[in-house]
């Protein structure tokens, strides 16, 4: 154990091939340099996948559940778990290896990360592959691998209940995959509490490849802090910054769903497979409509005063319980992007996607691509197994979702993502296959939002909307996702000071704004080193042609389109500012030395 304040100093390592379970100490230096969460996960991935091109679905790949130094302490909004692994969905245009792919990380809220720390670990690392479908139970230092045969194929909502009933204590916190993950759909998600997900980048597929249906964790301990009094004082200030504020109330009111109408009005929404930025019917699926017709409860993650999660119910043909949504991403990807404005239908699609354990964003993106290809006559109805996949059709969308998760018929191809689909269909369809490096774009459209385009092309896991629109944002967020705190409350500027004070008090290491960003830059750059080693170059940081050719035809940003030259020169500037070679994107020695990554 490292004896480092703020940490347990150890990772729980579970090898599903051999059944070996052990705790592994983490060097104190790694906590200093990579903090936790996304950063520490990245460092472990770098250390342990020593050679490039490891098949992400092989037993060799690591699947990590990483809380951060805030996790397990009552720091506001410190609920996050970062799932880190090697991506099963990305690949470069050229590589020397059979299975090159990027790192991937997916960050989810809820209660899992804090519970991992209550159980006494700074992270869980899963390696190997179980002989049969299995689940893992972690009860403080008692850890067991058990057979999960009876849960095979079970959807996540039913599984959430059945699994806790099997465990016999609702205090267990659980993560699990659905049928899509078991079937190795590359964009499968990992679910938690039936309505929260580590959605992006195929973490559920990696979990499925390990024959791991679920993990349950329960703990009675707690991490320490370096400076108790300073911690209490900073905690008080952090709570004061958020509790009862207009900012927090606004999140509780609509969560991210507020942006469904807001971004449509701003011309920055994914509409009709990114053809447009404005959806004239967005008010029918927006936050006001949901508050009126659907939502019953505002739900918060661990110690969060924002409560952005919404649950409710709908009635009629597509009626039922709604665990979450619409949120901005889910509401737009399955709503505006598919021209669906029927709220119960939209929510049925969202609920079904979670139930099957798919990524909402990639699934909505794939279906949008197919709708456009179908409309253009590039594919016919028999290609779609008879599904009349027209814009706005809820039933056709639901049928496609089921096929994707089951990898049945057209679903087997659609499960590979839009890039693979466009390769298969050809006929210039790559122009509107909306992905970067193989990962589909999220619900922010970019013809009128060039900086978000930068986020999509330079993010370490493929087209990620959360990475950040510029270098400073990217560094800050890589660091934020390493702490265990959610990114949403950090929109409140008065939280920054107490947040830094908390981090300093917990770790005993002085974090100011500059140091915070510095660590973030180190993490982001290590991700780049990993991706570069796999073969990713500047030509992989590339947007589909649509964004440079198809100007919006409606809305306030009518006529908006990206300028290729401007975009490329912005990118060149970006690499230079990062200290990377603008030709190859290789991080320069000077920068690596500055970040302490030169000897890594």
């Amino acid at each position: 154990m490292s004896g480092k304040p703020g940490y347990h100093g150890k990772i729980l390592n579970i090898d599903l091939s051999t059944g070996k379970i052990e705790t592994v100490p983490v060097p104190a230096e790694d906590f200093d340099k990579f903090v936790g969460g996304q950063g520490l996960g990245m460092k472990i991935l770098w250390d342990r996948l020593k050679k490039p091109g490891v098949d992400p679905l092989s037993p060799e790949n690591l699947l990590m559940f990483m809380p951060g130094p805030f996790s397990g302490l009552p720091v506001p909004s410190s609920s996050r778990t970062c799932v880190v692994t090697k991506s099963p969905i990305t690949s470069p245009l050229k590589s020397d290896y059979t299975h090159p792919s990027t790192v991937t990380y997916s960050n989810m809220g809820g209660f899992f990360g804090p519970e991992v720390r209550f159980a006494g670990y700074d992270g869980i690392v899963i390696t190997g592959k179980a002989r049969v479908l299995s689940y893992v139970v972690i009860d403080d230092d008692k850890v067991e691998i058990r057979e999960a045969a009876k849960f095979k194929g079970m959807r996540t909502d039913a599984f959430d209940r059945a699994f806790l009933a099997e465990l016999g204590d609702r205090r267990f916190k659980t993560v699990y995959i659905g049928p899509a993950g078991e079937n190795l759909v590359p964009y499968s998600s990992i679910l938690h509490t039936a309505g929260r997900a580590a959605g992006r980048g195929g973490t559920g597929c990696v979990m499925g490849s390990k024959n791991l249906k679920a993990i349950a964790v329960r703990g009675t301990g707690q991490p320490t802090v370096a400076a108790h009094k300073a911690f209490l004082a900073a905690l008080e200030n952090a709570r004061r910054a958020l509790n009862g504020s207009a900012f927090a109330k606004s999140w509780a009111e609509q969560g991210t769903a507020r942006a469904i109408v807001g971004n449509s009005n701003a011309g920055t929404e994914a509409v009709r497979n990114y053809r447009e930025g404005t959806f004239t019917e967005s008010d029918k699926i927006g936050g006001d409509a949901a508050r009126r017709d659907v939502w019953v409860k505002d739900i918060a993650c661990y110690c969060c005063p924002l409560a952005c999660k919404k649950s409710g119910m709908t009635k009629g043909k597509h009626g039922g319980v709604v665990h979450d949504g619409p949120e901005y991403e889910t509401g737009v990807m399955l709503g505006s992007n598919l021209m669906i404005s029927d709220m119960p239908g939209l929510l049925k699609a969202i609920t079904t996607i979670d139930d099957l354990g798919l990524d909402q964003i990639s699934t909505g993106n794939v279906i949008g691509f197919l709708m456009e290809a179908y409309e253009r006559g590039l594919i016919n109805r028999s290609f779609l197994d008879g599904i009349d996949l027209k814009w706005g059709s809820v039933d056709a969308t639901l049928a496609m979702i089921e096929k994707i998760a089951a990898k049945e018929g057209v679903g087997a191809l659609a499960a590979e993502g839009v890039r693979a689909l466009s390769w298969h269909i050809g006929k210039g369809s790559d122009k509107f296959a909306i992905q970067v490096k193989g990962l589909e774009l999220a619900a922010h459209n970019i013809q009128a939002n060039q900086p978000r385009g930068l986020s999509y092309v330079t993010a370490s896991r493929g087209a990620c909307h959360m990475s950040g629109d510029n270098i400073a944002m990217q560094n800050r967020r890589a660091m934020m996702d390493s702490t265990g705190m959610c990114f949403f409350p950090t929109f409140e500027p008065t939280l920054e000071e107490p947040m830094l004070a908390l981090l300093s008090a917990i770790t005993g290491r002085k974090f100011d704004k500059a140091e915070f960003e510095k660590v973030g830059e180190r993490i982001f750059t290590l991700e780049k080193l990993f991706n570069y080693r796999e073969g990713f170059r500047r030509e992989d940081d590339r947007l589909p042609d649509r964004f440079f050719e198809d100007a919006f035809t409606v809305g306030p940003k009518k006529g908006a389109v990206l300028d290729r030259e401007k975009f490329e020169s912005m990118l060149t500037q970006y690499y230079q500012d990062r200290g990377w070679d603008p030709e190859t994107t290789q991080p320069g020695q000077k920068k690596l030395k500055e970040l302490g990554l030169d000897s890594i």
Binding site: K229, P305, K309
Partner: protein, 241 residues
Amino acid sequence: MDKGKMESSGSYDRTTLTRREFIKGVGIGGGALVLLGQFGVHSVAWALAGDPALNMVLIDYAKCTGCRTCEAACSSRNRPVSLKGQELPGLGNPRYANIRVHSFNPDVDVPNVCAMCADTPCVKACPVEPDSKTGRRALYRDNVTHTIHNDSARCLGCRSCAKACAAQRTGVISPDPATGKPERMCTLCGGDPQCVKRCPFGALSYVEVRRDRKFYGLGPEKIAAELAKTWYGTADFGGLK
């Protein structure tokens, strides 16, 4: 049902009476029969006895978001740490919280906390002979704070109190897994309950105990079952059979 309009379980409270009115009501008629059904004869005795007013933490389930800040606040106060001889609030490990949020699927969150029962089924279940001087069993109600305490030295760890609490009331009393001695009796934090103070959503309040309140003294599974039905129209709420 117009669920969107349901603002808080405060609405469940509309038909309830103040304690004084309640006592009067029981005295003259029908209310007593209902109570006899729900709580048995002791409740009437309690209601009529004119005991000193007891206070408790009341939950508005519609406002509760399940964030568990109350657990951290409770633990921080009731599990202080000693640093260089100075007592300071702890780090809020929920393991030591006396209030505990039970979360269900679909989303229903039920914080469970001592109901401060006037008739103390837990104390009555304690088999330890009352002390000749104080009249106290191992488990007893403190005369000043009116909260339930356990005299660990005399406690047998027999779990009778927890069983009584689970069978008759909220089931909040949890025996320590190793010793069997009861835990999680609310201390009311010396009259300033930290869970109430720290709840970011105003879901908790510090009020007079009234047994006729909707959900008073019920266990979390029973409460969740009714709320799941009301809010989501479902009988399957992930309760443990």
